[in-house]
Symmetry: C2
Subunit: 309 residues, 2 copies
């Protein structure tokens, strides 16, 4: 069973107040006054599940906060504060120094304050709940995609998945791939400007196909994407040339890039953003009335997306 | 090393914004507009650490939310919403139904909405981050105790610790003790009215001595409490008569009652509260200028409080 099915089934209660968008988007949205909404996101990272046992505390701390910043980015929210629930197998001063130093560094960079936490003893696990603010009715939802919208993704896809693939085979990934795996850059600045441009947005944490499908299902639309248009790093191009395996960019998780849809009249604005933010933004397809996700140029039929269970 | 020392040392960064009260109180407080502050609290419960392996999913769900509601109560905040990070060893429909049903029931009772979550695979662990609101500058802090204040506690102390003590000895605790251990009642209504009456407040999760000491240290004062004034259930009285062991009510954790300090002129208001809220509120001592915690009538010198490490 997939994680979101699990959550949908057991925890998507209908007693939520009308000013709250609950379980099921990148963040929950809560109205706090006439002008602002709070966007809040929670993610847990567990050793051996989300990162290998020998991962450095610096990389763990970075990723634990970054994945939540990425969720805020997908809504277009400005990060404000976060809480940390840290489960540690033992008291290890070196580990804590490295972990807290890295967390502090990333939080300073994004101007988000650590406001509270809980420390418990057990198998290494990190849960961060990050909260940001967004002006009323401007947050990008998964449900906003319109037929005819162009589908964009930021930077390249599949690099983190290739690093994970190589690590599992006992190979040492390149510095670039490891960087993408351990230090994905949350697209907070991009998200903040997209609120005026995009109709819908999601961050690609579980793989492009699965995450784009969330947009399609929420918006009750379909999409046609061109496999040959997927933005790939040189290393991923080499990998695919040797393996004919398109699954890494299509369904490999951990990219933490943004996938968003934009009406035709706003395409020029996206092109302008590429320059002002110095970021690669690639149109990979179009939103269609026909439901389902059509992949033009795909040889194999199926890639299995990341499954939480 | 104690949990709060750990948190203080590694995570109490000084780069917090001036409108944020960070790590170190029951909740963090964040100003969101001119009128309101957000109070947010996070707690993790782990199997075999915070509850025994055979605890029912209903009891686990209840406690995971209740301990956070108790933190909101200690600040005088009104609960609004919470997020849930749930780590499960396997997909178990019965377990999830029981867990989510109990969580829904308690959240309805306190009018707090589940807004988001994350589900991961691993050893059973529940992290809840609960958020409430409180009017600007009204939240009760640990740092507000004044010399001459009376120290109060709600209901009785040590019942949950006695249940835990008996469980560890393989005995079956009475229904009343188990109720106090598995279903502690968060004192949210009491907290909300105390904002106008009390100078400081904390919830007793790690034991009276340790939690009262947080108030004393934060307020730079001391206290003198009368052991014979501690409010005890009949079962705890029997236990102490047989064991001469005052440690359960003094340093046993998991009471989730409120400990608060009140100036002499407000004592009458506390007495009135006992009637309007139908709750037992007992004066157990007084705040002193001399630092440290003096325990009048104590035979043994030391009780070891709950240690997270």
């Amino acid at each position: 069973m997939r994680e979101f099915d699990l959550i949908e089934k057991y925890f998507n209660w209908k007693n939520l107040e009308s000013d709250i968008l609950g379980v099921g988007d990148d963040c929950a949205l809560i109205s706090i006054d006439a002008h602002q909404q709070i966007a809040t996101s929670v993610d847990t990272l567990i050793e051996d599940v989300h990162f290998p046992k020998n991962t450095s505390p610096k990389d763990i701390a970075y990723k634990a906060l970054a994945v939540n910043l990425s969720d805020l980015a997908a809504m277009g929210a400005t990060p404000k504060y976060f809480t940390l629930a840290l489960t540690l197998p033992e008291f290890n001063e070196y580990w804590l120094q490295e972990f807290s130093g890295s967390l502090k560094s990333l939080s300073s960079q994004y101007n988000i304050a650590l406001v509270g936490g809980d420390t418990t003893k057990g198998k290494l696990s990190i849960t961060i709940n990050a909260t940001g603010v967004v002006s009323q009715n401007t947050a990008m939802l998964r449900s906003g995609a319109q037929v005819g919208d162009y589908i964009f993704v930021s930077n390249t896809l599949g690099d983190a998945a290739l690093a994970w693939h190589q690590l599992q085979q006992g190979k040492e990934p390149s510095k670039g791939l490891l960087q993408q795996f351990n230090r994905p850059q949350p697209q907070v600045e991009l998200g903040k400007v997209l609120v005026d441009i995009a109709n819908s947005c999601i961050d690609i944490s579980d793989g492009l196909e699965q995450d784009l499908s969330h947009i399609l299902n929420s918006s009750n639309v379909g999409a046609r994407i061109n496999i040959s248009d997927l933005p790939l790093s040189d290393e991923l191009i080499t990998y695919i040339e040797n393996s004919y395996d398109w699954c890494l960019p299509l369904s490999g998780g951990d990219d933490y890039e943004l996938c968003f849809t934009v009406s035709q009249e706003n395409i020029k604005k996206v092109e302008a953003l590429e320059k002002t933010l110095n970021i690669r933004l690639t149109a990979i397809g179009i939103v269609t009335k026909e439901l389902g996700l059509e992949r033009l140029g795909m040889f194999k039929d199926e890639c299995s997306s990341y499954q939480h269970f």
